[in-house]
Amino acid sequence: MKNFTLLSHQWKAATRSVAASKSVGIKIFMGFIFLILFLELLGGGFYLGSELAENSKDPVADLSRYVLYFFLAILVIRYMLQKLPTFMVTPYLNLPIKKNKLVNFILTKPLFNGLNILPLSFALAISTGLHEHLDAYTFWMIVAIVIIGDLFVNYISIYIKRVQIKHEYIFYIFLASVAGFLLLDQFKIVNFQGISSNVFMKVIQNPLWLLAGISIFAIAYYLNFQLLYKHFSLEDFGKGDSNQRSSLENLTYLDRFGKIGTFALLELKMCVRNKRTRTMLFMAPLFLLYGLFFYTKPSYLEMNGFLIFIGLFISGGFMMSFGLYFFAWESGHFDLMLTANNTYKDYIKAKYFLMLSTSTIIFLLSTFYVYFGIEILIINSVCFLFNIGVNSLLLLYFATNNNKHMDLSKGSMFNYQGVGGQHFVLMIPLLVLPILIHLPFRAFGQANIGFALIGALGILGLLFREKLLDLITRRFISRRYLMSEGFRNK
């Protein structure tokens, strides 16, 4: 009965939340993406299975060598995608419900996560491709291994995430261990394939070993239980990270830029001191490394359009992920910004200069890509000009459309709270426009003129920035009531 009540409260919390009622567009979008990925997963699994069936003498043994990698991949994916199961526990603490019960209730939630069907579906797809080589016994053993292994991985990932709330360095340890695993594997220092094969063939031969799997799952569950039980009052896990001296306090050189500097400093503090923005900040270097994935492959170096895309992303990726919500980030204190003694233009200009400076820093760092050819540097430079001249202003303009309150205390990896479907639509002109500009020139063999034009547009944007900022300010002024009303609505 009590469990049922708890469940019904959960259901109400989910269906009555503001987020649930608002973002239908984004849900459809995400659902669509999910469906496509799911179908691809099934197709991939089936293909893998049938290829193995054709080319391998002992497909099951071959498969078993990769089971460890499979679970590692699940661990990483779960870690990144899955939300921590939480539960507004405070209202129930003073009710006559046993703490055990609440903890178990929270811990059973991940069992009902939609992601859970993916590993099994993948395994089933492989089995279907392999069906000629599988007897019923082996098939059921595979199913059992995947289910039990996935359960273990699931609870381990939750455990890591929960510990990470308090000790952020756990994230880096996790990252380092995964990287370490991959390195050890890459340079064949440890034969993980052999280990994987040993372990899982043993399990398939003797189902009693499944019990060992179940017991490590039980241990993972118990660890979670312990952790939650101990820190149940949530005090330990709610706050965190405040009482530390910060280096930003003495950052006075921004003072000389007057009010704009004051606002920019505020913005920096906001980035560093809130969880959601901080995660974004940590991801910024990734944009810089983006080029490495592509420049190293000669085939990409031929595709100018693609290189433009990468160039835009390197110097503008951070700006784009951040800029579209420039005002929404401040939803917590937007009323103050509206009533404070400043002109709206200074306020907006501070954001503009922040984009300018971060983009410039990232661009300067990215000049080492000249290693891959002077052409890369030229493309990246025009893209950089376009980013700071055109895209930055477009972002500010579009940012006035966002009037959903943003909760900065939640992490940002795949956190779509406050994000509208329009985000994805708005990214299109920012990324596609320069490519479109470039396209006709390339068609007539004048690629360089195309690049020059992109850069020129950027320079024009820089030259006329005051006028354009005025335009944005006017837009901001006409949208301010809508924004502040939306931001107040948590």
């Binding site: 009482n243 001296r245 004051t262 404070a340 900065l408």
Partner: protein, 235 residues
């Protein structure tokens, strides 16, 4: 100083504020009372140009607040936590506000000394972000933030709520002091009839968005207010 002219605001077709005429002269301490939903915060937000009026306008020094932001130069306000920057430490918040108002560091420190009593030992040098302070201390931070700029107009929404009793008493004398010395125009709302009667020269009662009573404070005001708000007992 502040003039309200046929001001109206409706949400979903329901009128939440409808004021024909209201004028607050310079130096007046103006108290606003009314039960929940009477439109107090709405009125303040309109005066601060945070929401759009459906009709009418608010003039501050004869200039419409939604047309020109001159009023920001001489208006200090604190309505709710939307005026706090929760990831700052109190000192950082204060110096942010001081910076945009052109108040120097020295002036700010003089202010800190003046407010030492009001703050107690709980606000300054705590090395804590505003979001980690208690509601009452957050209120103190916000109230202080509103007067750093030495405004001519001060707008506070329920300044006494969440404060501990000593702080309430200190705040009262502080507000009276400010008004006497600086000849401040104050707009204050409160649910505490005692306090509001004590700090205000004039009290206006709002009910369902309408101005129903407009009293100049005298000895009898408190009684009058209590009489007005007394729940009707069923016989």
């Amino acid at each position: 100083m502040i003039q309200i002219d046929k001001l109206g605001k409706a949400y979903n077709g329901v009128k939440v504020l409808d004021i024909e005429q209201l004028e607050i002269p310079q130096g007046q301490s103006f108290g606003l009372v009314g039960n929940n939903g009477a439109g107090k915060t709405t009125l303040f937000r309109l005066v601060l140009d945070l929401i759009k009026a459906d009709q009418g306008q608010v003039l501050s020094k004869d200039i419409a607040v939604n047309k020109d932001s001159q009023w920001k130069k001489y208006t200090g306000s604190f309505l709710d936590e939307g005026f706090l920057i929760d990831f700052l430490k109190p000192e950082e918040y204060f110096s942010f506000i001081a910076d945009i108002n052109g108040v120097t560091k020295d002036e700010l420190h003089v202010f800190y000394d003046d407010f030492a009593d009001f703050f107690g030992d709980e606000i300054l040098n705590k090395n804590k972000y505003i979001r980690d302070f208690s509601k009452g201390n957050q209120k103190k931070i916000g109230l202080f933030g509103a007067i750093i700029s030495q405004p001519e107009v001060l707008i506070l929404d329920e300044p006494f709520a969440n404060l501990d009793p000593s702080s309430q008493i200190r705040l009262k004398s502080l507000l009276k002091d400010l008004q006497l010395k600086a000849h401040l125009t104050m707009l204050i709302s409160s649910h505490d009839l005692n306090h509001i009667a004590e700090v205000s020269d004039r009290i206006v009662i709002l009910e369902k968005g309408k101005l129903v009573k407009d009293l100049l404070t005298s000895k009898n005001t408190l009684g009058e207010l209590e009489g007005y708000f007394k729940p009707e007992t069923s016989k």
